[in-house]
Protein backbone atom coordinates (compact mmCIF):
# COMPACT_ATOMS: atom_id res chain seq x y z
CA UNK A 1 0.00 0.00 0.00
CA UNK A 2 1.11 3.60 -0.68
CA UNK A 3 2.25 5.57 2.29
CA UNK A 4 0.03 8.62 2.49
CA UNK A 5 1.53 10.13 5.59
CA UNK A 6 4.65 9.32 7.52
CA UNK A 7 5.75 10.85 10.82
CA UNK A 8 9.30 10.41 12.07
CA UNK A 9 10.12 11.30 15.67
CA UNK A 10 7.81 14.31 15.74
CA UNK A 11 8.16 16.43 18.86
CA UNK A 12 6.19 19.54 19.76
CA UNK A 13 7.29 21.87 22.50
CA UNK A 14 5.66 25.12 23.61
CA UNK A 15 7.86 27.79 25.17
CA UNK A 16 11.61 27.80 25.42
CA UNK A 17 14.38 26.30 27.56
CA UNK A 18 13.48 25.35 31.14
CA UNK A 19 9.91 26.63 30.95
CA UNK A 20 9.00 24.72 27.80
CA UNK A 21 6.16 22.20 27.80
CA UNK A 22 6.42 19.12 25.62
CA UNK A 23 3.06 18.34 24.04
CA UNK A 24 4.30 15.55 21.76
CA UNK A 25 7.41 13.42 22.17
CA UNK A 26 9.00 11.27 19.44
CA UNK A 27 5.83 10.40 17.56
CA UNK A 28 6.33 8.12 14.60
CA UNK A 29 3.68 6.33 12.61
CA UNK A 30 2.52 5.77 9.06
CA UNK A 31 -0.91 6.21 7.50
CA UNK A 32 -1.51 4.30 4.30
CA UNK A 33 -3.64 5.31 1.33
CA UNK A 34 -7.32 4.61 1.96
CA UNK A 35 -6.68 3.70 5.59
CA UNK A 36 -9.00 4.76 8.43
CA UNK A 37 -6.78 5.33 11.43
CA UNK A 38 -7.94 6.28 14.91
CA UNK A 39 -5.86 8.25 17.37
CA UNK A 40 -7.05 7.34 20.82
CA UNK A 41 -6.27 9.06 24.05
CA UNK A 42 -7.73 11.02 26.95
CA UNK A 43 -8.16 14.76 26.94
CA UNK A 44 -4.80 16.56 27.06
CA UNK A 45 -2.92 13.61 25.63
CA UNK A 46 -1.88 15.63 22.56
CA UNK A 47 -4.39 14.32 20.01
CA UNK A 48 -5.37 17.77 18.70
CA UNK A 49 -1.73 18.93 18.57
CA UNK A 50 -0.84 15.88 16.55
CA UNK A 51 -3.76 16.48 14.17
CA UNK A 52 -2.73 20.12 13.77
CA UNK A 53 0.75 19.02 12.75
CA UNK A 54 -0.58 16.34 10.42
CA UNK A 55 -2.99 18.86 8.91
CA UNK A 56 -0.19 21.42 8.37
CA UNK A 57 -1.87 23.87 10.70
CA UNK A 58 1.05 23.77 13.12
CA UNK A 59 4.77 23.10 12.79
CA UNK A 60 6.60 20.41 14.77
CA UNK A 61 9.56 21.45 16.91
CA UNK A 62 11.56 18.42 15.85
CA UNK A 63 11.22 15.42 13.61
CA UNK A 64 10.10 14.99 10.05
CA UNK A 65 6.79 14.59 8.33
CA UNK A 66 6.17 13.26 4.82
CA UNK A 67 2.99 13.70 2.85
CA UNK A 68 2.93 11.43 -0.21
CA UNK A 69 6.68 11.04 0.23
CA UNK A 70 7.40 14.77 0.30
CA UNK A 71 8.86 16.34 3.45
CA UNK A 72 6.42 18.99 4.63
CA UNK A 73 7.42 19.54 8.27
CA UNK A 74 9.10 22.89 7.77
CA UNK A 75 7.19 24.37 4.87
CA UNK A 76 6.43 28.11 4.72
CA UNK A 77 2.98 29.64 5.25
CA UNK A 78 2.16 29.77 1.57
CA UNK A 79 3.15 26.17 0.73
CA UNK A 80 1.30 24.78 3.75
CA UNK A 81 -1.73 26.77 2.70
CA UNK A 82 -1.55 25.24 -0.77
CA UNK A 83 -1.35 21.71 0.66
CA UNK A 84 -4.30 22.33 2.96
CA UNK A 85 -6.33 23.81 0.14
CA UNK A 86 -5.56 21.01 -2.31
CA UNK A 87 -4.83 17.79 -0.45
CA UNK A 88 -6.24 17.92 3.08
CA UNK A 89 -9.83 17.95 4.29
CA UNK A 90 -10.81 18.88 7.84
CA UNK A 91 -13.74 17.70 9.92
CA UNK A 92 -13.90 19.74 13.09
CA UNK A 93 -15.28 18.82 16.47
CA UNK A 94 -17.62 21.85 16.48
CA UNK A 95 -18.18 21.62 12.71
CA UNK A 96 -16.86 25.18 12.20
CA UNK A 97 -19.36 26.03 9.47
CA UNK A 98 -19.27 29.64 8.28
CA UNK A 99 -22.39 31.18 9.84
CA UNK A 100 -23.11 33.65 7.03
CA UNK A 101 -22.96 31.02 4.30
CA UNK A 102 -25.69 28.59 3.32
CA UNK A 103 -25.17 24.82 3.36
CA UNK A 104 -24.48 24.93 -0.39
CA UNK A 105 -21.92 27.73 -0.01
CA UNK A 106 -20.18 26.11 2.95
CA UNK A 107 -19.70 22.92 0.95
CA UNK A 108 -18.72 24.77 -2.23
CA UNK A 109 -16.15 27.00 -0.52
CA UNK A 110 -13.11 24.65 -0.89
CA UNK A 111 -13.87 24.29 -4.62
CA UNK A 112 -14.08 28.04 -5.03
CA UNK A 113 -10.70 28.32 -3.30
CA UNK A 114 -9.26 25.79 -5.75
CA UNK A 115 -10.47 27.79 -8.74
CA UNK A 116 -13.02 25.21 -9.92
CA UNK A 117 -15.44 26.52 -12.55
CA UNK A 118 -18.94 27.54 -11.37
CA UNK A 119 -20.50 24.82 -13.51
CA UNK A 120 -18.29 22.12 -12.00
CA UNK A 121 -18.96 23.50 -8.51
CA UNK A 122 -22.71 23.23 -9.06
CA UNK A 123 -22.39 19.69 -10.35
CA UNK A 124 -20.11 18.44 -7.57
CA UNK A 125 -21.95 20.13 -4.72
CA UNK A 126 -25.39 19.01 -5.93
CA UNK A 127 -24.14 15.45 -6.28
CA UNK A 128 -22.67 15.42 -2.77
CA UNK A 129 -25.75 17.08 -1.27
CA UNK A 130 -27.77 14.30 -2.85
CA UNK A 131 -25.44 11.60 -1.55
CA UNK A 132 -25.60 13.01 1.95
CA UNK A 133 -29.34 13.64 1.97
CA UNK A 134 -28.92 17.37 2.39
CA UNK A 135 -30.47 18.66 -0.83
CA UNK A 136 -33.52 20.03 1.01
CA UNK A 137 -31.18 22.03 3.28
CA UNK A 138 -29.04 23.60 0.56
CA UNK A 139 -30.29 27.16 1.17
CA UNK A 140 -30.36 26.93 4.94
CA UNK A 141 -27.89 28.65 7.21
CA UNK A 142 -25.92 26.56 9.75
CA UNK A 143 -27.98 27.93 12.64
CA UNK A 144 -31.09 26.43 11.03
CA UNK A 145 -29.61 22.90 11.07
CA UNK A 146 -29.60 20.18 13.68
CA UNK A 147 -26.28 18.96 15.14
CA UNK A 148 -26.31 15.87 12.91
CA UNK A 149 -26.99 17.92 9.81
CA UNK A 150 -24.18 20.31 10.67
CA UNK A 151 -21.83 17.40 11.02
CA UNK A 152 -22.88 16.07 7.64
CA UNK A 153 -22.26 19.48 6.08
CA UNK A 154 -18.84 19.53 7.75
CA UNK A 155 -18.05 16.09 6.32
CA UNK A 156 -19.29 17.15 2.87
CA UNK A 157 -17.11 20.27 3.00
CA UNK A 158 -14.07 18.17 3.90
CA UNK A 159 -14.67 15.69 1.08
CA UNK A 160 -15.96 17.89 -1.76
CA UNK A 161 -12.49 18.45 -3.19
CA UNK A 162 -11.64 14.70 -2.97
CA UNK A 163 -8.65 15.20 -0.66
CA UNK A 164 -5.98 12.55 -0.18
CA UNK A 165 -6.04 13.03 3.58
CA UNK A 166 -8.99 13.77 5.85
CA UNK A 167 -8.34 14.90 9.41
CA UNK A 168 -11.23 14.53 11.84
CA UNK A 169 -10.98 15.86 15.37
CA UNK A 170 -13.50 14.26 17.77
CA UNK A 171 -16.17 14.04 15.04
CA UNK A 172 -18.71 12.50 17.41
CA UNK A 173 -18.05 14.68 20.44
CA UNK A 174 -20.98 17.03 20.04
CA UNK A 175 -23.45 14.43 18.79
CA UNK A 176 -25.75 11.86 20.32
CA UNK A 177 -25.10 8.18 19.66
CA UNK A 178 -27.49 7.94 16.73
CA UNK A 179 -26.02 10.92 14.89
CA UNK A 180 -22.47 9.91 15.76
CA UNK A 181 -23.12 6.48 14.29
CA UNK A 182 -24.67 7.92 11.13
CA UNK A 183 -21.76 10.36 10.74
CA UNK A 184 -19.20 7.62 11.12
CA UNK A 185 -21.01 5.39 8.62
CA UNK A 186 -20.98 8.25 6.17
CA UNK A 187 -17.27 8.88 6.61
CA UNK A 188 -16.53 5.20 6.07
CA UNK A 189 -18.73 5.12 3.01
CA UNK A 190 -16.96 8.13 1.51
CA UNK A 191 -13.61 6.71 2.58
CA UNK A 192 -14.35 3.63 0.50
CA UNK A 193 -15.88 5.61 -2.37
CA UNK A 194 -13.14 8.24 -2.72
CA UNK A 195 -10.16 6.36 -1.35
CA UNK A 196 -9.16 9.15 1.02
CA UNK A 197 -7.06 8.33 4.09
CA UNK A 198 -8.71 9.27 7.38
CA UNK A 199 -6.95 10.29 10.55
CA UNK A 200 -9.56 10.42 13.30
CA UNK A 201 -8.86 11.62 16.82
CA UNK A 202 -11.38 10.36 19.34
CA UNK A 203 -11.81 8.89 22.78
CA UNK A 204 -15.18 7.44 21.82
CA UNK A 205 -14.85 3.61 21.80
CA UNK A 206 -17.63 3.35 19.24
CA UNK A 207 -15.65 5.45 16.75
CA UNK A 208 -12.41 3.66 17.50
CA UNK A 209 -14.01 0.23 16.98
CA UNK A 210 -15.05 1.25 13.47
CA UNK A 211 -11.53 2.23 12.38
CA UNK A 212 -9.08 -0.03 10.53
CA UNK A 213 -6.38 0.55 13.05
CA UNK A 214 -5.72 2.64 16.12
CA UNK A 215 -2.80 4.27 17.85
CA UNK A 216 -2.91 5.48 21.41
CA UNK A 217 -1.49 8.66 22.83
CA UNK A 218 -0.79 9.25 26.49
CA UNK A 219 0.88 12.39 27.81
CA UNK A 220 2.20 13.20 24.36
CA UNK A 221 3.77 9.80 23.78
CA UNK A 222 2.68 6.99 21.55
CA UNK A 223 1.59 4.02 23.70
CA UNK A 224 0.53 1.64 20.94
CA UNK A 225 3.27 0.84 18.39
CA UNK A 226 2.32 2.22 14.93
Amino acid sequence: MDRRLELEAITKRYGRDKNSITALQDISFTLFAGEFLAIQGPSGSGKSTLLNICGLIDNPSDGDYYLNGVSVAQLGVSERCTYRRRDIGFIFQRHQLIPAMTVYENIAYPLLLNGVTPKQIRHDVNQLLDTMGLEHRRKHLPKQLSGGERQRVGIARALIKRPQLVIADEPSASLDHQHAHAGLQLMRKLNQAYGASFLVASHDPFVIDHCDRKIELLDGRLETPA
Partner: protein, 402 residues
Protein backbone atom coordinates in the same frame (compact mmCIF):
# COMPACT_ATOMS: atom_id res chain seq x y z
CA UNK B 1 -21.19 31.17 -5.90
CA UNK B 2 -18.57 33.87 -6.08
CA UNK B 3 -16.35 35.91 -3.77
CA UNK B 4 -18.71 38.84 -4.19
CA UNK B 5 -21.64 36.75 -3.06
CA UNK B 6 -19.73 35.53 -0.02
CA UNK B 7 -18.75 39.11 0.87
CA UNK B 8 -22.38 40.18 0.49
CA UNK B 9 -23.51 37.35 2.77
CA UNK B 10 -21.01 38.37 5.43
CA UNK B 11 -22.06 42.01 5.22
CA UNK B 12 -25.74 41.11 5.55
CA UNK B 13 -24.97 38.68 8.36
CA UNK B 14 -23.21 41.37 10.41
CA UNK B 15 -26.48 43.30 10.74
CA UNK B 16 -26.44 45.94 13.46
CA UNK B 17 -22.74 46.69 13.27
CA UNK B 18 -22.83 47.12 9.50
CA UNK B 19 -25.94 49.31 9.70
CA UNK B 20 -24.31 51.66 12.20
CA UNK B 21 -21.18 51.96 10.06
CA UNK B 22 -23.28 52.39 6.97
CA UNK B 23 -25.21 55.22 8.60
CA UNK B 24 -22.04 56.98 9.75
CA UNK B 25 -20.66 56.90 6.21
CA UNK B 26 -24.00 57.86 4.64
CA UNK B 27 -24.58 60.79 7.00
CA UNK B 28 -20.96 61.91 6.52
CA UNK B 29 -21.38 61.83 2.76
CA UNK B 30 -24.70 63.67 3.00
CA UNK B 31 -23.06 66.41 5.07
CA UNK B 32 -20.22 66.65 2.55
CA UNK B 33 -22.51 66.79 -0.46
CA UNK B 34 -25.01 69.27 1.01
CA UNK B 35 -22.22 71.45 2.42
CA UNK B 36 -20.23 71.44 -0.77
CA UNK B 37 -23.43 71.92 -2.81
CA UNK B 38 -24.02 75.11 -0.83
CA UNK B 39 -20.39 76.09 -1.35
CA UNK B 40 -20.66 75.55 -5.11
CA UNK B 41 -23.86 77.59 -5.34
CA UNK B 42 -22.15 80.39 -3.39
CA UNK B 43 -19.17 80.29 -5.77
CA UNK B 44 -21.53 80.41 -8.69
CA UNK B 45 -23.45 83.37 -7.25
CA UNK B 46 -20.19 85.24 -6.61
CA UNK B 47 -18.99 84.49 -10.12
CA UNK B 48 -22.32 85.73 -11.45
CA UNK B 49 -22.03 88.96 -9.42
CA UNK B 50 -18.47 89.49 -10.65
CA UNK B 51 -19.41 88.86 -14.27
CA UNK B 52 -22.51 91.03 -14.12
CA UNK B 53 -20.74 93.96 -12.47
CA UNK B 54 -17.48 93.84 -14.45
CA UNK B 55 -18.47 92.07 -17.66
CA UNK B 56 -16.86 88.86 -18.86
CA UNK B 57 -13.97 90.88 -20.26
CA UNK B 58 -12.95 94.44 -19.36
CA UNK B 59 -10.84 96.93 -21.27
CA UNK B 60 -9.06 99.45 -19.04
CA UNK B 61 -6.47 102.11 -19.70
CA UNK B 62 -4.10 101.98 -16.72
CA UNK B 63 -2.22 105.12 -17.65
CA UNK B 64 -2.65 107.53 -14.72
CA UNK B 65 -4.03 110.96 -15.52
CA UNK B 66 -2.17 113.36 -13.18
CA UNK B 67 -4.85 115.99 -13.60
CA UNK B 68 -7.51 113.79 -12.01
CA UNK B 69 -7.95 112.69 -8.44
CA UNK B 70 -7.75 109.25 -6.86
CA UNK B 71 -7.99 105.80 -8.29
CA UNK B 72 -11.74 106.15 -8.72
CA UNK B 73 -11.33 109.06 -11.08
CA UNK B 74 -9.13 107.63 -13.83
CA UNK B 75 -11.04 108.47 -17.01
CA UNK B 76 -8.30 107.56 -19.43
CA UNK B 77 -10.01 105.33 -22.00
CA UNK B 78 -10.58 107.54 -25.01
CA UNK B 79 -12.06 106.76 -28.44
CA UNK B 80 -14.02 104.00 -26.82
CA UNK B 81 -17.00 104.53 -29.13
CA UNK B 82 -14.96 103.17 -32.08
CA UNK B 83 -13.85 100.23 -29.99
CA UNK B 84 -17.44 99.59 -28.92
CA UNK B 85 -18.63 99.63 -32.53
CA UNK B 86 -15.85 97.19 -33.50
CA UNK B 87 -16.72 94.85 -30.66
CA UNK B 88 -20.34 94.75 -31.76
CA UNK B 89 -19.12 93.07 -34.95
CA UNK B 90 -17.85 90.08 -32.93
CA UNK B 91 -20.60 87.47 -32.79
CA UNK B 92 -19.42 86.26 -29.37
CA UNK B 93 -20.28 89.64 -27.87
CA UNK B 94 -23.75 90.37 -26.50
CA UNK B 95 -23.27 93.76 -24.84
CA UNK B 96 -20.52 96.38 -24.58
CA UNK B 97 -21.09 98.75 -21.67
CA UNK B 98 -19.00 101.87 -21.01
CA UNK B 99 -18.41 102.85 -17.38
CA UNK B 100 -16.93 106.10 -16.09
CA UNK B 101 -15.87 106.04 -12.44
CA UNK B 102 -15.70 109.36 -10.62
CA UNK B 103 -15.90 110.64 -7.06
CA UNK B 104 -16.76 113.77 -5.15
CA UNK B 105 -19.31 115.24 -2.73
CA UNK B 106 -23.07 115.17 -3.04
CA UNK B 107 -25.25 117.58 -1.12
CA UNK B 108 -28.86 118.33 -0.40
CA UNK B 109 -29.26 121.58 1.44
CA UNK B 110 -26.94 121.44 4.45
CA UNK B 111 -26.37 117.69 4.21
CA UNK B 112 -23.31 116.47 2.30
CA UNK B 113 -21.67 113.09 1.76
CA UNK B 114 -18.80 111.58 -0.16
CA UNK B 115 -19.84 109.57 -3.20
CA UNK B 116 -18.25 107.08 -5.57
CA UNK B 117 -20.09 107.44 -8.83
CA UNK B 118 -20.48 105.56 -12.08
CA UNK B 119 -21.44 107.01 -15.39
CA UNK B 120 -23.28 104.27 -17.19
CA UNK B 121 -25.44 103.38 -20.16
CA UNK B 122 -28.75 103.48 -18.27
CA UNK B 123 -30.66 101.35 -20.77
CA UNK B 124 -28.37 98.38 -20.26
CA UNK B 125 -26.76 98.83 -16.86
CA UNK B 126 -29.61 97.71 -14.63
CA UNK B 127 -30.46 94.92 -17.04
CA UNK B 128 -27.05 93.25 -16.75
CA UNK B 129 -27.04 93.37 -12.97
CA UNK B 130 -30.30 91.44 -12.85
CA UNK B 131 -31.32 90.26 -9.37
CA UNK B 132 -28.06 91.46 -7.80
CA UNK B 133 -29.06 95.13 -7.96
CA UNK B 134 -32.54 96.04 -6.71
CA UNK B 135 -34.12 99.37 -7.57
CA UNK B 136 -36.81 101.42 -5.95
CA UNK B 137 -38.93 104.44 -6.97
CA UNK B 138 -37.50 105.18 -10.39
CA UNK B 139 -38.86 108.25 -12.22
CA UNK B 140 -39.61 107.97 -15.91
CA UNK B 141 -37.76 108.73 -18.01
CA UNK B 142 -34.79 108.17 -15.79
CA UNK B 143 -31.09 108.68 -16.31
CA UNK B 144 -31.71 110.27 -19.67
CA UNK B 145 -30.11 113.53 -20.78
CA UNK B 146 -32.52 116.30 -19.81
CA UNK B 147 -32.34 119.86 -18.66
CA UNK B 148 -32.00 118.55 -15.13
CA UNK B 149 -30.05 115.28 -15.29
CA UNK B 150 -31.11 112.28 -13.23
CA UNK B 151 -29.13 110.37 -10.67
CA UNK B 152 -29.73 107.05 -8.85
CA UNK B 153 -28.43 106.75 -5.30
CA UNK B 154 -27.56 103.87 -3.07
CA UNK B 155 -30.30 103.57 -0.43
CA UNK B 156 -27.98 104.37 2.48
CA UNK B 157 -26.50 107.40 0.72
CA UNK B 158 -30.03 108.74 0.11
CA UNK B 159 -30.86 108.13 3.77
CA UNK B 160 -27.72 109.98 4.87
CA UNK B 161 -28.78 112.96 2.78
CA UNK B 162 -32.45 112.65 3.73
CA UNK B 163 -33.22 112.58 0.01
CA UNK B 164 -36.30 111.08 -1.62
CA UNK B 165 -37.18 110.50 -5.24
CA UNK B 166 -37.69 113.77 -7.12
CA UNK B 167 -35.40 115.84 -4.86
CA UNK B 168 -32.78 118.10 -6.39
CA UNK B 169 -29.17 117.39 -5.37
CA UNK B 170 -25.79 118.89 -6.24
CA UNK B 171 -22.73 116.88 -7.32
CA UNK B 172 -19.36 118.51 -6.59
CA UNK B 173 -16.10 117.22 -8.05
CA UNK B 174 -12.95 118.23 -9.90
CA UNK B 175 -12.97 118.07 -13.67
CA UNK B 176 -10.09 116.82 -15.78
CA UNK B 177 -8.50 120.28 -15.68
CA UNK B 178 -8.37 120.05 -11.87
CA UNK B 179 -11.04 122.73 -11.61
CA UNK B 180 -14.02 122.59 -9.27
CA UNK B 181 -17.13 121.53 -11.06
CA UNK B 182 -20.70 121.00 -9.97
CA UNK B 183 -24.01 120.04 -11.47
CA UNK B 184 -27.59 119.95 -10.18
CA UNK B 185 -29.29 116.59 -10.59
CA UNK B 186 -32.68 115.15 -9.75
CA UNK B 187 -32.95 111.96 -7.67
CA UNK B 188 -34.62 109.49 -10.02
CA UNK B 189 -34.60 106.49 -7.75
CA UNK B 190 -32.73 104.29 -5.30
CA UNK B 191 -30.91 101.00 -5.58
CA UNK B 192 -29.32 98.66 -3.14
CA UNK B 193 -26.83 95.85 -3.45
CA UNK B 194 -27.02 94.55 0.12
CA UNK B 195 -23.42 95.65 0.71
CA UNK B 196 -23.38 98.66 3.06
CA UNK B 197 -20.00 99.90 1.80
CA UNK B 198 -21.49 100.27 -1.67
CA UNK B 199 -24.98 101.41 -0.68
CA UNK B 200 -23.52 104.11 1.66
CA UNK B 201 -21.54 105.89 -1.04
CA UNK B 202 -22.45 104.87 -4.55
CA UNK B 203 -24.46 106.65 -7.18
CA UNK B 204 -25.13 106.19 -10.89
CA UNK B 205 -25.88 108.66 -13.60
CA UNK B 206 -25.70 108.66 -17.36
CA UNK B 207 -22.46 109.17 -19.27
CA UNK B 208 -23.60 112.54 -20.66
CA UNK B 209 -23.91 113.92 -17.14
CA UNK B 210 -20.42 112.66 -16.29
CA UNK B 211 -19.03 114.14 -19.49
CA UNK B 212 -20.57 117.52 -18.63
CA UNK B 213 -19.36 117.42 -15.04
CA UNK B 214 -15.80 116.26 -15.79
CA UNK B 215 -15.46 117.88 -19.18
CA UNK B 216 -14.34 114.69 -20.91
CA UNK B 217 -15.81 111.94 -23.06
CA UNK B 218 -13.28 109.47 -21.68
CA UNK B 219 -14.40 106.54 -19.61
CA UNK B 220 -12.70 104.23 -17.08
CA UNK B 221 -13.64 100.85 -18.44
CA UNK B 222 -15.39 99.12 -21.28
CA UNK B 223 -17.20 96.00 -20.02
CA UNK B 224 -17.83 93.27 -22.57
CA UNK B 225 -20.61 90.73 -22.04
CA UNK B 226 -20.33 87.49 -23.98
CA UNK B 227 -22.75 84.80 -25.15
CA UNK B 228 -20.76 82.17 -23.21
CA UNK B 229 -18.59 82.78 -20.19
CA UNK B 230 -16.22 80.02 -21.36
CA UNK B 231 -15.13 82.32 -24.20
CA UNK B 232 -13.79 84.93 -21.75
CA UNK B 233 -10.12 83.94 -21.96
CA UNK B 234 -10.19 83.55 -25.73
CA UNK B 235 -11.76 86.98 -26.18
CA UNK B 236 -9.34 88.54 -23.68
CA UNK B 237 -6.31 87.08 -25.50
CA UNK B 238 -7.73 88.14 -28.85
CA UNK B 239 -8.30 91.73 -27.70
CA UNK B 240 -5.04 92.04 -25.78
CA UNK B 241 -3.10 91.05 -28.90
CA UNK B 242 -5.10 93.48 -31.00
CA UNK B 243 -5.20 96.57 -28.79
CA UNK B 244 -2.20 98.64 -27.76
CA UNK B 245 -1.93 100.77 -24.64
CA UNK B 246 -4.82 99.18 -22.76
CA UNK B 247 -5.17 96.32 -20.33
CA UNK B 248 -7.69 93.58 -21.11
CA UNK B 249 -8.76 91.40 -18.19
CA UNK B 250 -11.27 88.61 -17.70
CA UNK B 251 -13.88 88.73 -14.93
CA UNK B 252 -11.83 86.06 -13.12
CA UNK B 253 -8.81 88.37 -12.89
CA UNK B 254 -10.94 91.20 -11.51
CA UNK B 255 -13.14 89.17 -9.14
CA UNK B 256 -11.38 89.99 -5.90
CA UNK B 257 -14.35 89.20 -3.65
CA UNK B 258 -14.91 85.87 -5.37
CA UNK B 259 -11.30 84.82 -4.80
CA UNK B 260 -11.36 85.89 -1.15
CA UNK B 261 -14.63 84.12 -0.37
CA UNK B 262 -13.57 81.03 -2.32
CA UNK B 263 -10.29 80.83 -0.41
CA UNK B 264 -12.20 81.15 2.88
CA UNK B 265 -14.87 78.56 1.95
CA UNK B 266 -12.28 76.18 0.54
CA UNK B 267 -10.54 76.22 3.90
CA UNK B 268 -13.78 75.84 5.91
CA UNK B 269 -15.15 73.00 3.79
CA UNK B 270 -11.72 71.48 3.41
CA UNK B 271 -11.41 71.16 7.19
CA UNK B 272 -15.01 69.93 7.45
CA UNK B 273 -14.37 67.35 4.73
CA UNK B 274 -11.19 66.21 6.41
CA UNK B 275 -12.98 65.77 9.74
CA UNK B 276 -15.74 63.74 8.08
CA UNK B 277 -13.19 61.56 6.29
CA UNK B 278 -11.37 60.96 9.59
CA UNK B 279 -14.66 60.03 11.30
CA UNK B 280 -15.47 57.62 8.46
CA UNK B 281 -11.94 56.21 8.59
CA UNK B 282 -12.19 55.58 12.35
CA UNK B 283 -15.72 54.15 12.12
CA UNK B 284 -14.76 51.70 9.37
CA UNK B 285 -11.48 50.75 11.07
CA UNK B 286 -13.39 50.10 14.29
CA UNK B 287 -16.06 48.03 12.54
CA UNK B 288 -13.53 45.91 10.69
CA UNK B 289 -11.40 45.48 13.82
CA UNK B 290 -14.47 44.34 15.77
CA UNK B 291 -15.52 42.06 12.94
CA UNK B 292 -12.07 40.47 12.87
CA UNK B 293 -12.15 39.99 16.62
CA UNK B 294 -15.60 38.41 16.53
CA UNK B 295 -14.86 36.34 13.44
CA UNK B 296 -11.53 35.00 14.67
CA UNK B 297 -12.84 31.45 14.67
CA UNK B 298 -14.22 31.85 11.17
CA UNK B 299 -10.94 33.30 9.91
CA UNK B 300 -9.07 30.37 11.47
CA UNK B 301 -11.48 27.92 9.82
CA UNK B 302 -11.05 29.55 6.41
CA UNK B 303 -7.28 29.44 6.87
CA UNK B 304 -7.45 25.76 7.82
CA UNK B 305 -9.48 25.10 4.68
CA UNK B 306 -6.66 26.63 2.64
CA UNK B 307 -7.56 30.33 2.32
CA UNK B 308 -4.33 32.25 1.94
CA UNK B 309 -3.75 35.40 4.04
CA UNK B 310 -4.15 37.46 0.87
CA UNK B 311 -7.49 35.76 0.13
CA UNK B 312 -8.76 36.59 3.63
CA UNK B 313 -7.44 40.12 3.20
CA UNK B 314 -9.25 40.43 -0.13
CA UNK B 315 -12.52 39.13 1.36
CA UNK B 316 -12.53 41.79 4.06
CA UNK B 317 -11.63 44.53 1.57
CA UNK B 318 -14.48 43.35 -0.67
CA UNK B 319 -16.86 43.54 2.30
CA UNK B 320 -15.65 47.08 3.02
CA UNK B 321 -16.19 48.01 -0.64
CA UNK B 322 -19.77 46.73 -0.47
CA UNK B 323 -20.42 48.70 2.73
CA UNK B 324 -18.86 51.75 1.10
CA UNK B 325 -20.96 51.36 -2.06
CA UNK B 326 -24.20 50.87 -0.15
CA UNK B 327 -23.43 53.77 2.19
CA UNK B 328 -22.51 56.17 -0.61
CA UNK B 329 -25.67 55.24 -2.52
CA UNK B 330 -27.76 55.98 0.57
CA UNK B 331 -25.73 59.13 1.25
CA UNK B 332 -26.23 60.42 -2.30
CA UNK B 333 -29.98 59.76 -2.23
CA UNK B 334 -30.23 61.43 1.17
CA UNK B 335 -28.20 64.44 0.00
CA UNK B 336 -30.34 64.69 -3.15
CA UNK B 337 -33.56 64.64 -1.12
CA UNK B 338 -32.32 67.13 1.50
CA UNK B 339 -30.89 69.49 -1.16
CA UNK B 340 -34.18 69.50 -3.06
CA UNK B 341 -36.16 70.04 0.14
CA UNK B 342 -33.95 73.02 1.09
CA UNK B 343 -34.15 74.49 -2.42
CA UNK B 344 -37.93 74.17 -2.48
CA UNK B 345 -38.41 75.57 1.04
CA UNK B 346 -36.61 78.84 0.11
CA UNK B 347 -34.88 79.03 3.47
CA UNK B 348 -32.92 82.25 4.02
CA UNK B 349 -29.35 82.50 5.19
CA UNK B 350 -28.62 85.28 7.69
CA UNK B 351 -26.74 88.29 6.31
CA UNK B 352 -23.05 87.45 5.95
CA UNK B 353 -20.35 89.82 7.30
CA UNK B 354 -20.29 93.06 5.27
CA UNK B 355 -23.85 92.59 4.03
CA UNK B 356 -27.18 93.90 5.25
CA UNK B 357 -29.37 91.21 3.77
CA UNK B 358 -29.61 87.47 3.94
CA UNK B 359 -30.01 85.39 0.81
CA UNK B 360 -31.92 82.26 -0.09
CA UNK B 361 -30.02 79.02 0.50
CA UNK B 362 -29.54 77.08 -2.69
CA UNK B 363 -27.80 73.72 -2.78
CA UNK B 364 -26.23 72.66 -6.06
CA UNK B 365 -26.85 69.10 -7.16
CA UNK B 366 -24.00 68.14 -9.44
CA UNK B 367 -23.68 64.46 -10.36
CA UNK B 368 -19.97 64.66 -11.27
CA UNK B 369 -19.42 66.26 -7.88
CA UNK B 370 -21.51 63.54 -6.21
CA UNK B 371 -19.47 60.92 -8.03
CA UNK B 372 -16.07 62.36 -7.10
CA UNK B 373 -17.05 62.85 -3.43
CA UNK B 374 -18.46 59.31 -3.23
CA UNK B 375 -15.38 57.79 -4.81
CA UNK B 376 -13.20 59.71 -2.31
CA UNK B 377 -15.27 58.31 0.52
CA UNK B 378 -15.14 54.75 -0.85
CA UNK B 379 -11.35 55.07 -1.16
CA UNK B 380 -11.26 56.18 2.51
CA UNK B 381 -13.41 53.19 3.48
CA UNK B 382 -11.19 50.77 1.56
CA UNK B 383 -8.05 52.35 2.98
CA UNK B 384 -9.44 52.07 6.52
CA UNK B 385 -10.33 48.42 5.98
CA UNK B 386 -6.92 47.87 4.37
CA UNK B 387 -5.24 49.05 7.57
CA UNK B 388 -7.61 47.26 9.95
CA UNK B 389 -7.62 43.97 8.02
CA UNK B 390 -3.91 43.44 8.55
CA UNK B 391 -4.84 41.92 11.91
CA UNK B 392 -6.99 39.29 10.21
CA UNK B 393 -3.98 37.74 8.53
CA UNK B 394 -2.24 37.43 11.91
CA UNK B 395 -4.97 35.27 13.46
CA UNK B 396 -3.41 31.97 14.62
CA UNK B 397 -5.30 28.99 13.21
CA UNK B 398 -4.59 26.88 16.28
CA UNK B 399 -5.77 29.58 18.70
CA UNK B 400 -8.72 30.51 16.54
CA UNK B 401 -9.99 26.95 16.42
CA UNK B 402 -9.38 26.17 20.08
Amino acid sequence: MSWLRIALRNVLHDGTRVISTLLIIAVGLTALLVGSGFMLSTYDALQEIAMRSEGHVSIIDDTPDPALGGAHQQLTLSHWQTLQADLWEDERVVRVLPRARFEGMISKGDESAVFFGSGVDPKEEFRVHGPFLRTDGILNPWLTPQETPDVMLGTQLARTLGATTGDLLILHTQNRHAENSEITVQLAGLYHTGTPDIDNHSLMTNLTTVATLLDTDNISQLSIYLQRREASTAVQTFLQNRLDGVTVQTWYQRAELYHKVKALYDRIFGVMGLIILIVVFLAVSNTIALAIHQRREEIATLSALGSSPSRIYANFILEACLIGLAATTIGMLLAYAISNAINLSELMMPAPPGKTEGYPIFIYISWPHYFITSVTLIITVVFASFIATRNATRVSIVKGLS
